[in-house]
């Protein structure tokens, strides 16, 4: 290859770091939230599907990267259909397990068996209905991989008395990220097993140290161990969340572009505590403000290292996915996703 062309290419592929930016406002989202609640209640829940789309779109549309915002493209009617079926399943399940314990136990097993399918459907529904620059994301993970990541590996984690837990987390995140794509281009996660073990051990170590310190302070006042315990719990919770976020997002790349994440435990703890206090002291009215603050915090600690521009991603063939997996996951309170 001759010299000038190569130079040109290098210039075009010059790396630059772009921060995610969140422009949602507490007051604005509060008004959207209240109208959502009101319309959902007076339509006996039917509007909830439209409310979900509006909420998601508010957060997507206000999240910007490199001058473009994200979009949530799910159709409310698709969500409504999924919701109705999910409600029927939930009611049958909860009544059965209350009155016919044997039938209930069998139903739990059945739900566990379809869990991998549910997870893939939910991930695919959310991916395919997310877009950036008019190109949709996609999730192509299979049921077998989900069964390994969400049933077999957690079981091994339990059997190993927790020793394998960091590895389980790595397997799950690898499954989710590596099957996630933007258009036809796959994402990939690069994080070593050692780094998962490291943050896990540090987190637990700090928890134990603080716990011991609290116990030693017990003779001074019986309230100190309680207080220290609460702080330690919050700290370990925040530490693990932050480290996992940084590790997974920071290790994610697509084509020649990559992500960088730099949350800190202290700032995340401050956000969580102030959000809980805000919600509690306003009897829930500040819930939308808390969500805006959380989204802004997340965006502020995430950036993309872009090589050149983001013009060259090709859209994949579009396909339709039902919302049942996603809605059933919501009803059963599964926390799936990145």
């Amino acid at each position: 290859m001759n010299q000038p062309v190569e130079e040109q290419l290098t210039a075009a592929r010059a790396e630059r770091e772009e921060r995610f930016e969140f422009t949602g406002k507490g007051g604005e989202f509060f008004r959207i939230w209240i109208v959502n609640l009101f319309l959902t209640i007076i339509t006996i829940g039917i509007y909830s599907a439209w409310a979900k789309v509006r909420t998601a779109n508010y957060f997507y549309g206000n999240t910007h990267l490199d001058g473009n915002s994200f979009r949530y493209l799910a159709k409310p009617l698709t969500i409504l259909k999924g919701r109705l079926i999910a409600i029927a399943v939930l009611v049958a399940y909860s009544l059965a397990s209350q009155y016919y314990p044997v039938v209930g136990a069998l139903l739990s097993l059945a739900l566990l068996a379809v869990l991998p399918w549910l997870i893939t459907r939910s991930l695919r529904f959310n991916a395919i209905n997310s877009a950036y620059r008019n190109v949709r994301f996609n999730f192509t993970g299979g049921v077998g991989g989900a069964a390994m990541a969400f049933l077999v590996w957690p079981l091994l984690g339990v059997l190993s008395l927790g020793l394998l837990l960091p590895l389980v987390m790595k397997k799950q995140n690898e499954y989710m990220v590596n099957h996630f794509s933007y258009g036809t281009q796959r994402f990939s996660l690069d994080a070593s097993t050692g780094s998962f073990y490291k943050f896990f051990l540090v987190g637990i170590g700090i928890g134990i140290l603080v716990g011991v310190a609290g116990a030693l302070a017990a003779p001074i006042s019986q309230y100190i161990p309680m207080l220290v315990g609460a702080v330690a719990y919050l700290f370990v919770f925040a530490y693990l969340r932050v480290q996992l976020f940084n590790l997974v997002y920071g290790g994610t790349s697509i084509a020649e572009h990559s992500l960088k994440a730099d949350m800190t435990t202290g700032s995340f703890m401050a956000l969580t505590v102030t959000n809980i206090l805000l919600i509690a002291f306003t009897l829930g009215l500040a819930y939308p403000v808390a969500r805006i603050r959380a989204a802004r915090y997340k965006a502020e600690h995430l950036s993309a290292v872009i090589a050149g521009d983001l013009d060259n991603f090709a859209a994949a063939e579009s396909e339709k996915v039902s919302a049942l997996g996603e809605e059933l996951g919501d009803m059963l309170d599964l926390e799936i996703g990145l």
Binding site: T23, G24, K25, E28, F29, R31, I32, I34, V35, L37, F38, L39, T40, I41, I42, G45, S48, W50, K52, V53, R54, T55, N57, Y58, G61, N62, S69, R71, V91, S94, L95, Q98, Y99, Y100, P101, V102, V103, Y132, R133, N134, V135, Y182, G183, I276, I279, A280, G284, L285, Y287, A290, A294, L310, D311, N312, F313, A314, A315, D330, D333, E335
Partner: protein, 364 residues
């Protein structure tokens, strides 16, 4: 003519191109991007919903999208009558602080009334609409689970069990559900009686032994029949389902934090409903006792003994003198209501004893 500045996406790649969209009053449009131009009718576009200050997307059937933030320009085109999004009105309300504050108050009132009246009465209607036979075989499974986990076979003499059963059955009023009486050795459950939703009423041996008069057991039996007649178990389960579904629909995207904050009021409401059901069952017991000519005081005396037995049970075992002192106390009506009352499935024992004692006094 209106000119909108924006970005053009071709629908095949992530490439973005600055573009201008000119829309004429007639409804014709011309799109001019750096390397692309198009014309057509504005109605060919599918518009994204207006939402806050977010960009609007105008999508063409082939997947290409023109994106703009020119909200004022789009409003003018709307006023020409070339497009109207179905959520336009919702968007209008969302921008109006006064309307939103009004809706906030209205929503709070509706939620409050719904929890106090709406959900309980909906659950009652649903429970009574379900066939009484639905739970016929449910009790067998539940009792089998309880037998494995807690109970031993009853050690009461068989003659005593049969006599009690005959006594109960002869006094059972006509209910929608056939009633079956069972005895079990309670073990760690202790003195207790409860009704399973399919019509099985279970007494523990300890309960039978604690009673000093069979009329006390009849009083408890009346209370359990109340639970069956009013289908309390089913209603509580239905109420729980309604609230769970409502919570998911209203806060479907809740995070772990809001789950915790939201769980507290829901748990307190469930307990308040449980206390209402206990009061209803007590009312049924009062009616049952007056129909059977049993002094309501028998319910109060058994409740007192249950309460005193609990108080006299210490870590070192049963304290007989404390039990005697407790039974001897004459005034059950005094005492403050405390925070604990709101955390209990049953109304305060003091409140229940007082109710039955007053009924006994007025009957005399």
């Amino acid at each position: 003519m209106i000119e909108l500045a924006g970005t053009w996406f071709d629908g095949n790649t992530s490439r973005q191109v600055p573009a201008t969209l000119r829309v004429h009053r007639s409804g014709e449009f011309e799109l001019a991007a750096a390397d692309h131009s198009r014309r057509g009718r504005f109605t060919e576009f599918e518009l994204s919903a207006p939402l806050g200050d977010t960009a609007r997307q105008l999508a063409l059937p082939d997947g290409a999208v023109f994106e703009t933030r020119d909200h004022a320009g789009l409003a003018k085109i709307r006023d020409w009558g070339h497009h109207r999004h179905s959520l336009e009105l919702v968007h209008l309300i969302e921008r109006h602080w006064g309307a939103v504050l009004g809706l906030t108050v209205l929503t709070a009132v509706i939620v409050y009334l719904g929890m106090v009246y709406g959900v309980p009465s909906a659950a009652r209607s649903i429970a009574y609409a379900l066939p009484a036979s639905m739970l016929d075989s449910a009790d067998e499974q539940t009792l089998a689970v309880l037998d494995r986990a807690y109970f031993e076979p009853s050690e009461l003499p068989q003659a005593r069990r049969e006599a009690l059963r005959a006594e109960f059955e002869s006094r059972t009023p006509a209910l929608a559900i056939p009633v079956r009486i069972e005895f079990r050795k309670g073990g760690e459950v202790g003195a207790n009686a409860f009704a399973l939703p399919g019509g099985t009423v279970v007494f523990t041996d300890e309960m039978v032994e604690l009673a000093q008069d069979d009329r006390e057991l009849l009083a408890v039996y009346g209370h359990e029949l109340g639970h069956l007649e009013y289908r309390h178990s089913l209603r509580r389960a239905i109420q729980g389902s309604i609230v769970t579904i409502a919570a998911v629909l209203l806060l479907g995207d809740a995070t772990a934090t809001t789950d915790v904050v939201g769980a507290v009021p829901l748990a307190l409401t469930d307990l308040a409903w449980s206390r209402d059901f206990e009061r209803e069952a007590d009312s049924f017991a009062l009616d049952f006792m007056s129909a059977e000519g049993i002094d309501p005081g028998y319910f109060a005396s058994l409740m007192q003994r249950l309460e005193c037995r609990d108080r006299a049970r210490t870590s070192e075992g049963f304290n007989q003198s404390e039990f005697d002192a407790c039974i001897g106390q004459s005034d059950w009506t005094s005492g403050e209501s405390g925070l604990g009352d709101f955390l209990s499935t049953h109304p305060a024992t003091r409140e229940r004893i007082q109710r039955f004692q007053e009924a006994a006094d007025s009957a005399r």
